[in-house]
Symmetry: C2
Subunit: 205 residues, 2 copies
DNA sequence: GGGGGCGGAGTGAATGTTCAGTCCGATCCT
DNA sequence: AGGATCGGACTGAACATTCACTCCGCCCCC
């Protein structure tokens, strides 16, 4: 089985095919789910032959995992922009909350893909890691988990299990975004703020 | 296409097969998802022949919809038990919040099934209806939507769009239950209470 | 003994994956 | 320099597998 790293990928403009395939896969999976996205369809959408897919990825699973990695990398970069180092815990949590809201609203396909991914066998383990240990920011950046922990220690956040605080965070966030992408509501800036405030009210001491 | 109502089902003890199939379908779909639950496997789990399945349901879709109806009926009955008519809005909302928590904790398979269902093409429309118009309680019972509406009108709940209030409700709830069923936390009675309190803090004026 | 619920091998469609061949650009040989 | 050779990225038709669904004979019960 070959790797998915650029090292083993063909040179020059050929890399465009890899990204074409990644984008096509994300788009179709977001729209139709894993099983509504046959490899033939992904290849067609990407404008490559059915076999080409297997020159870049060992199998469909590897492709899906690669899409996930790529999306998460972009998400992490997005979250690190303008990170309010040194400011209050609430402000830093707000940065994550609104940052995630904005990213998902601006990138609905990425949102739907991640939703599919984390609800599949692929993602459950990752989810566990994310809550318990792994940083959301790639390197050097504080984690949501760390901020919640610190807030609890300082007595400004309710002394609930971290997992529950995180559930409030991610649950409110994803439900609201889902309603937005389904067209049930328009999550404009003002509502984003008020939702973040409501979340803060939920967890503050 | 034939119906799934008992009227058209075979008589006598044969109904046991119908419920066997329903239970088997729910169990396998909860565990492996729709695509990971071939009809042959469902039939085997139910202890019937592969063809028998089609004596009770027109096709796999009809079976899935029937499972959903059956689960929701039981959920509604559960929620109507001990409904605190006439008590404060907070208490009535609490009844729903903790009632749903308990039901899902006591019935993890039902929870996972509903999660799969509402994230699939089957359920999106139903989700929309549930938020916008349909009652959760079957008949005569107040709806979560109605309670939130009333709370907003009385000025004791934040004046946010109903959809967002509902997103806070269902998002916090489902995220917490998911963490519980994944074994990340033990949502005992005390935590259930404190989570309900946190939710109330999020939406109260 | 006969009729209807039942079983499970069978069927055709669809899907993931492969592989023999094509094509294009680089490299080498004269 | 220019033609011959080669390498390997790319293709897409073919293959093996899986799935939802059907069909016909069995068998149990009246």
């Amino acid at each position: 089985m070959h790797d998915t790293s650029p090292a083993s990928a063909p040179l020059a403009g050929a890399t465009d095919k890899r990204t074409s395939i990644l984008r096509a896969a994300m788009t179709l999976i977001a729209r139709n789910g894993f099983h509504g996205s046959p490899t033939a369809m992904i290849a067609a959408e990407a404008g490559v032959g059915a076999g080409t897919l297997y020159r870049y990825f060992a199998d469909k699973d590897a492709l899906i995992v690669a899409v996930h990695r790529e999306v998460e990398t972009r998400l992490n970069e997005w979250l690190q922009k303008d990170y309010p180092f040194g400011q209050s815990i609430r402000r830093r949590l707000d940065h994550y909350f609104i940052g995630l809201l904005r990213f998902f609203i601006d990138h609905p396909l990425e949102f739907k893909f991640l939703g599919q991914f984390y609800d599949s066998p692929y993602g459950v383990e990752l989810r566990r890691d994310k809550i318990f240990s792994k940083p959301v920011g790639d390197a050097g950046c504080e984690t949501i988990r760390g901020l919640l922990e610190q807030g609890v220690a300082e007595g400004i956040i309710k002394d609930l299990p971290l997992v529950l605080l995180f559930a409030l965070f991610i649950g409110a966030l994803t439900s609201a975004v889902r309603d937005h992408t389904h067209g049930f509501i328009d999550l404009h800036d003002g509502l984003q703020r008020r939702l973040a405030d409501a979340f803060w009210d939920a967890i503050r001491q």
